[in-house]
Each structure stands twice: as structure tokens, then as C-alpha cells.
Amino acid sequence: MNSALIELRGVSKSYRKGGETIDAIADIDLEVQETGMVAVVGPSGSGKSTLLHMLGAMDRPTRGEINVAGQVVNRLSQGELTRFRRQTVGFVFQTFNLIPNLTALENVALPMEFNGVSKAARLKRAKSLLERFQLGPRLKHRPRELSGGEMQRVAIARAVANEPRLVLADEPTGNLDSRSGQIIYEVLREISRERTVIVVTHAEDLARLADRVIHIRDGRLLDAPPMPGLPLDRNELHFVQQRAI
């Protein structure tokens, strides 16, 4: 059995609005194993993005401890956080977030540049990653010259450029049609063979592809058996349908 890559103990994230306190995440305990794909599902506002951001050191918890790949994320200094984002995690955004004036190749090479990889080595790896995701003919294209699905594949290549042990994707197919979304699922599935991929999604079929589904509601995890192929509960299905309209 694999050791846990991620361990959350009593993690909460609260926002204070006026006199009121909103618990976006409320006292979560969670373990996630090394490698495999985990889907995080739940209604809008349930805290999915908040959870993901804390795992990726993009946000700090109000309480509790977050341990990722042996590092206590909530206690890292500014410099250590930068190194953590550079080496341990890769982020995939719903809106792709490619750097608009860089080519696909340069976008993928950028995190490796931050990580001190030599120019020749990073260009070679960026090229091979893009080829692996069927983007060989698009190396010199700028983001605005790519389709949404192509942009997201570039973003995934960028996310895995430094070989992180964890990839976090927040609704990566939210801005894509179902055909492009399908390809993205397959790519994420493929990269999850070598690392842990956590995907926030409203899409039932992506959740079904996952090795594990985490249900979240009002900032709390629902008790659900961590089994692959579990159907979404009815309320969520209802929500997904509403959102799709």
C-alpha cells in the first residue's frame, strides 16, 4: 500500500464578512494516497476551490495542519512556499491562464526556467510533453492561436513540467465543450498514473473516471466509500443538470 501523499488534520478556512463568519472549509480530516485520480464534487459554494487552493499553497488555512509530500504547508515561509509551488504541485485552471505573449513551448518551459533547468533541457522536455499531448504542430502558437481544448492541454503540460507529485485542477473542463472535455479527462487520467491528480468537477463522467470521489457540502466531507465508479448523489446530479442548462 502507498503511503499518504496528503494528510489534512482539523483544517478549517473561515471568512469574516461583517459580523458573520463563513466557514468555507470546516474541520476537515483527509488522507490522499500517492498516484491516482481523485475527483472532488459538491454543490457551488461548498468549498471545493478553497480546499484545492489550500492544498496547492495558494491559500492558508485558518486552523489545522496540511501536510503534502512531507511538508507542513501551513508553516512554510514565503521562500519555501515559492519552492513548494514550483516543485511539488502543478495547477490547472478553469480559464487556462497561459501567458498570452509566450508560445505554447515557452509557456510549458517557464516553470522549468523558474526551477533552474537549463534552456536546452527545458525546451526538449517541453517539446516532448506537448507532443505527448498531440500538440506537436502547435509548439510556436500563442495562446490566442489555440482552441480552448488545446490551451488546456498546454496548461496541463505546464503543470507537469517540473514533475510534481501532485496536480490540482479546478474545473478544468468548465470552459470546454464535451468533446474537448473528454480529451482533457483522458490526459489527466494518463498523468495520474505517475502522480496524484485532484480534480474539482461538476461533470459526472469525469468523476466516474476517478479512482476516488470526495463529496463535499457546506465545507464538510460527506461520508462516502472511497470506491471508483461511484455515482454522484441525486442532489448533485440535479445540480449538474441545472448548471448545464
Binding site: 491559500d59 509551488r85 491562464n97 501567458i99 498570452p100
Partner: protein, 420 residues
């Protein structure tokens, strides 16, 4: 290295905007260069004036013009004044003069000036400009002392019917008995002087004068003692005030002391004012640049908030983000600076002169206007000015961008991405 490169590439994202920014930065740079060159020109002008006129003081008998035959103005300085003045520190030259008026065609008159042959021929005039320049014949030599020779102004010569080609052979007869409403006759014989040179001064009254060796002058007018005027040359402008003070103490009881007021005032007030105005213009230009950089950076940080967040999320450090924006800011201020330099080289002289007369000339007392009309502003850009331009560009970029950069780095990646 990588972030510098990214910063430079960011310059080209929006080329028309880049052009606008470079023009907005270039304009204050042009202003800065113009102000710098005006300050320099005034400095030079002042130094020039300090060399020529600023260091000469004049003594006259108290309450008298000191003209030997002018009614009520004929009191002279006693001989002892010269020795007393020579003893004062920082006095490098003392030149005693004698002056007599001589009627020409009424109501005009000319001036006969007695001086040592080696003395600077200072004209009796109402301004210090227009020192005489020999246009025919020769200058005095030491051998001319006591001889019946003279150097005549071209206006006086014309009145007397002397032509430039006659110089050396021509003569002029001085007649001390002639009178005029303000000139009384001195009962002495006429004296015929050989005209050895002719000068031009550039103004009418300056040309109606005649220089005579002082001993000759004394024997013509029968003046055995005393001087009309004594010119006192200081070794530097800085000592003029002290010398004036010493003169007041030693000969103030018999002499009026005319310190070079106009020049001193010019140095003390006007040129300082101009240099201050130019300096203020320079500071305004710098502030303008910083304001432009400030708003450009603020706009860019706002516009690229999501990108900054993304860069941080994929592992860019705050230092890296800072370098990226700073590189971009320095690059466009330096480009602006170079544009300013190029435009200044092409149009500097014409525009600066106009800028000067509109922006600074109007603040000056009117009597200085002619001095400044002659001000020559150079559009030459030296190596040190280029260094200054780059230094100012970097300074403006760093100061102007600091707030924007701080906005960019203070946010966590998440906050940056949400900040739209």
C-alpha cells in the same frame, strides 16, 4: 535572466501603447535636457560677465561727475587716492582717468579721455558694453606717454572730417576755451594732436570720444593734480564686495564708490533665479516622468493581475515578478530618454530658445533681456548628459514603479487572480 527577458518581451505586447508611453516619457526628458542646457548657458554667460565687467569698481570725487570743465561737476579725486587704493588686498590694477567735455555741433558734445597708454580704454558711457576696437591705425604704446597723439572714435572723426585712410597723418586740434551750456572754457592754448588710431564701439556716444595720454591731457587742460575717475580692478568677483568695503573705509570721505552693481546684481539675483527656474523645470520634468511611470505600472499590474497570480502559482518568486516589471519600466523610461535626446538634438536649439523666452525670459527684469537674447543654448548632448539621462530614467522607473510592483507582490497568487 529569464525574468529580464520576459520583462523586455512584455514591452512589445501593445506597440501603440508602448509608443504612447515612450512619447509621454520622452517629453519630460526633452524638458529636462532643455532646462539643463539653459542652466549651463546661463552659467557660461555669467562666468563670461564675471570675467569682463564684474570685477571693476569706479571711484569719483564725492558728488561730482569729475569732468574737468563741466559746470558744478569739476571736483576731482586727490592724487593720494591712487596709492591708498593700490594698497588694498585683491586689487590687481588701478587706472586713473581724466575727462574733459568738448562741444561738437550744439547741443552735442564729445569726451576727451586722458589715460595711461597701457590702460584699458574704458568709454564714458551709460553701460559697460561696447569697449572700443581699433578699426584703423594702431594702439598706444608706452612711448606715446606725454606725446601729442590721440586715438579717436569714428563718430568724432567723422564730425572732424577725418577719414580712416588719413589715420597717422591726420591731426585734431583740441581747444579748451570752447563752451557749451554745461561746459565752461579753460583759458589755455589750443593743442594739435596727431591721430594715430581710430576705434569703433558700436554705439553713438561711445564713438564720440577721444583717448589721449594722461600727461598730454594734463598739459592741454592745465590740470596738475587729481583724477576724474579711478578704475579699480579686483582679482575676482568674490572679492568685489570686500574691496568696495575697504574703499569706503579708506577713501570714502573723498570718493563715491561705484561697485559694479548691475553685474553683481545680475550674478546674485538674475542668473541665480534663472538657474533656479531651470532647476525647478528639471524637477518638474522628473516628477512628470515618475507620475507617468506610476500610472503605467499601476495600469499594467491591474491588467495583468491574473497573469501575476498565475506566474506565482507556477513558481515565480516575488523577486522574479519585481525584476520583470522593473525591467519593463526601466526599458520604457530609457527608450523615452533616448527619444528625448534625439528630439533635443534635432530641435533643441530652436525649441529651447523659445521655451526660454516664454518660460523664463518673462520672469526677468526687462533690463536683462538683451543679455539673454544673446544667450546661446547648445543642443549638444555630451557623454555625461547621456549618463545623466540613463540615471534619471532608471531613477524614475524605480521610484515610479515601486507602488505598482508592491501591489503586484503583496498579493498571494490567489488574491492576485481574483483581483480583477
Amino acid at each position: 535572466m529569464g525574468m529580464i527577458f520576459l520583462g523586455l518581451r512584455n514591452l512589445l505586447r501593445n506597440k501603440s501603447r508602448l509608443a504612447l508611453i515612450v512619447v509621454l516619457i520622452g517629453a519630460p526628458f526633452f524638458l529636462l535636457l532643455a532646462m539643463q542646457s539653459i542652466g549651463e548657458a546661463v552659467d557660461q554667460q555669467t562666468a563670461e560677465m564675471n570675467r569682463s565687467v564684474n570685477t571693476v569698481l569706479q571711484l569719483r570725487a564725492r558728488g561730482s561727475m569729475g569732468h574737468v570743465n563741466m559746470s558744478n561737476q569739476d571736483r576731482l579725486l586727490p592724487d593720494s587716492v591712487v596709492e591708498k587704493v593700490r594698497a588694498i588686498d585683491h586689487v590687481i590694477q588701478v587706472e586713473p582717468y581724466l575727462l574733459a567735455m568738448s562741444p561738437t555741433t550744439l547741443p552735442n558734445f564729445a569726451m576727451h579721455v586722458g589715460l595711461a597708454p597701457a590702460a584699458v580704454k574704458r568709454l564714458e558711457s551709460h553701460g559697460e558694453s561696447g569697449n572700443p576696437r581699433i578699426i584703423a591705425g594702431r594702439e598706444f604704446t608706452p612711448e606715446d606717454a606725454g606725446q601729442d597723439v590721440a586715438i579717436i572714435g569714428q563718430g568724432y572723426a567723422e564730425w572732424a572730417g577725418i577719414k580712416p585712410e588719413d589715420i597717422g597723418k591726420a591731426t585734431f586740434t583740441a581747444d579748451p576755451t570752447r563752451t557749451h551750456p554745461v561746459i565752461y572754457g579753460i583759458n589755455r592754448p589750443k593743442r594739435t594732436l596727431r591721430i594715430i588710431g581710430m576705434y569703433a564701439s558700436g554705439y553713438v556716444f561711445g564713438d564720440l570720444q577721444m583717448f589721449i595720454p594722461i600727461d598730454t591731457f594734463r598739459s592741454i587742460y592745465g590740470i596738475e593734480h587729481g583724477f576724474s575717475w579711478v578704475f579699480v580692478q579686483a582679482d575676482s568677483v568674490d572679492n568685489v564686495a570686500a574691496i568696495a568695503q575697504r574703499l569706503q573705509e579708506t577713501v570714502g570721505d573723498v570718493a563715491d564708490i561705484l561697485a559694479p552693481k548691475s553685474a553683481a546684481v545680475f550674478t546674485a539675483t538674475t542668473s541665480r533665479t534663472v538657474i533656479q527656474l531651470a532647476g525647478a523645470g528639471g524637477v518638474a520634468a522628473l516628477v512628470l516622468m515618475i507620475v507617468v511611470v506610476f500610472f503605467v505600472l499601476l495600469m499594467q499590474v491591474r491588467e495583468r493581475a491574473r497573469e501575476i497570480g498565475t506566474l506565482k502559482a507556477i513558481g515565480a518568486s516575488n523577486g522574479g515578478v519585481t525584476i520583470q516589471f522593473l525591467t519593463e519600466a526601466i526599458a520604457f523610461t530609457v527608450l523615452g530618454g533616448l527619444l528625448g535626446v534625439v528630439v533635443f538634438q534635432l530641435l533643441g536649439e530652436a525649441i529651447t530658445a523659445r521655451l526660454f523666452s516664454l518660460g523664463i525670459g518673462s520672469f526677468l527684469p526687462s533690463q536683462y533681456k538683451p543679455l539673454f537674447d544673446s544667450l546661446s543654448v547648445s543642443s549638444h548632448v555630451s557623454g555625461s548628459v547621456l549618463v545623466l539621462v540613463v540615471a534619471v530614467a532608471v531613477f524614475a522607473a524605480v521610484i515610479g514603479s515601486s507602488y505598482g510592483v508592491w501591489q503586484a507582490i503583496k498579493l498571494s497568487p490567489l488574491e492576485a487572480m481574483k483581483d480583477e
